[in-house]
Amino acid sequence: MRLFWNITLGGVAEGMIFASVALGLVLIFRATNVINFAQGAMAMLTTFIAFSVFGKGVGYWPAFVVALACGLFLGGLVQLVLIRPVQNKPPLNAVIVTFGLLILLEGLAGAVWGNSNRGFPAAFSQSGLVIGHTAIAFSHFDIFIVVAVLVLVVLVAALFRFTTLGLRMRAAAFAPEAARLLGVKVSWLLTLGWSFAAVAGALAGLLVAPTSVFSPTFMDLILVYAFTAAVIGGLDSPVGAVIGGLVTGLALAYVGGYLGGALEPIGALVMLIVVLMIRPEGLFARPTARRV
């Protein structure tokens, strides 16, 4: 039973990370119909930048802020320079461009920082908490992961629900032409959407790096797990992305905990196949916005 709870707690922390990457994927997909396969690699880059900044001895939190700021900048830049030119082309072109960016960034990071595994600092202690007399597999840092992603989710929800910026972003995503006729500057908002998504990714990078090996490819698996989560959530529903992230995190934790960690990626693949077979539109898709 203890094993079960420990695995569950680990799954929740993992799931929150998947949720934040999946949220970025969904924000972008909803607005521009593009899956950003470079979402993980962009997060990798901002995390490496934070690593270098941290190495200068400025402390953890300034490096943290630098990473998020770099995400904001990088997301917008990528949309402006690489995505806009292929926006009105067949969707495959955008897939190839984001995938090309994925490996371009990994190659560049390898050239600058090397391909070997490194350690990345954590904001809080990573040793398990002790409740009563039993140690559990949940650390202060895991609490930080959960809180940080929850804050992100609340901010995104508030943005969309309570601000006119969110209103305009939704309009730009759902009905770009109608939005333009109402004076919404759609192309600028799409750029901003990429920026926000990249910030979510940058946060995920900072949260993953201390808990795994830290090398230019460290976000690869996270990206495909987040893709799984986003598909489970319906690919265009932010709420679905968060729930999908938790479901994926828990499911993979059980697979890893009981069957062995090497089976996690296969487990994700099986989940993806099963979900697409039984509920292809995802578990939480908005019924009105079905893509046939």
Binding site: L167, A175, E177, G183
Partner: protein
């Protein structure tokens, strides 16, 4: 005053507008009529900047609209209700209305303007929190027009607002449009298949055929010309 001159638009080999010229007097309703594929929608889309004109000009209120971006044309006071209304189904009625005014008004003024729209279209007020996807065809059309009006445009472009509406609802809608233009502050260009009801409220009428203006005359004259009606308008 809206002044379209020698406006030409083509899509690849198809030329949809071939040197169209027309004028819409300030504060009046101008009906644009014509068969399917005549170029009516294209005309409105060229005025509001959604399609690029390759020749000609559109002057409105000291602005040359050809070459301006859609967003800037909107800020010049032009509101375009596209064919089918294009309300955003994923949003509520209130959110759709908000969206119409965000570029122009702050929160307080926006609420006041939306209140005025609810007075014009009471049916919308009771459905404020409902998703637009749940509205009937007529309610959608009202929402689309209301959404275009919240920003107090000076030029209103309406593309077939009566599309799919019952005759009684159409008559009500036309009455509202006639009322709106009574104040003399809003210039309306009304594209319609339903020529009879459009002519009943318009003061001027333009008939398009295959991308060219074939008739441009007072609405009464057009309505009174049996030959013309028979030939181009089918009633």
């Amino acid at each position: 005053m809206l002044e379209v001159s020698e406006l030409s638009v083509s899509f690849g080999a198809v030329s949809a507008l071939k040197g169209v010229s027309l004028q819409a007097r300030t504060g009046s309703i101008t009906a644009v009529l014509g068969a399917n594929g005549a170029g009516k929608t294209t005309l409105l889309r060229a005025i509001s900047g959604l399609v690029k004109a390759h020749a000609g000009s559109v002057r409105y209120d000291k602005h040359e609209l050809v070459g301006m971006s859609v967003e800037r044309i909107v800020r010049a006071g032009v509101s375009h209700v596209p064919e089918g209304g294009s309300v955003i189904a994923e949003m509520t009625v209130a959110e759709n209305l908000q969206l119409g005014a965000v570029w122009r008004y702050g929160r307080r003024e926006r609420q006041r303007r939306i209140g005025e729209i609810y007075e014009i279209f009471p049916a919308l007020a009771t459905r404020a929190k409902q998703h637009a996807s749940t509205l009937s065809g007529g309610e959608r059309q009202m929402l689309a027009i209301g959404r275009a009006l919240v920003s107090r445009p000076s030029l209103l472009l309406l593309d077939e607002p009566s599309l799919g509406l019952a005759p009684l609802v159409t008559a009500g809608l036309m009455a509202v449009l006639a009322d709106l233009s009574k104040g003399g502050e809003i210039t309306t260009v009304l594209v319609e298949q339903n020529a009879r009801s459009a002519l009943s409220i318009a003061s001027w009428a333009v008939v398009l055929n295959l991308g060219t203006v074939v008739v441009s005359d007072s609405a009464d004259a057009v309505a009174g010309d049996a030959d013309l009606r028979h030939h181009f308008l089918g009633f």
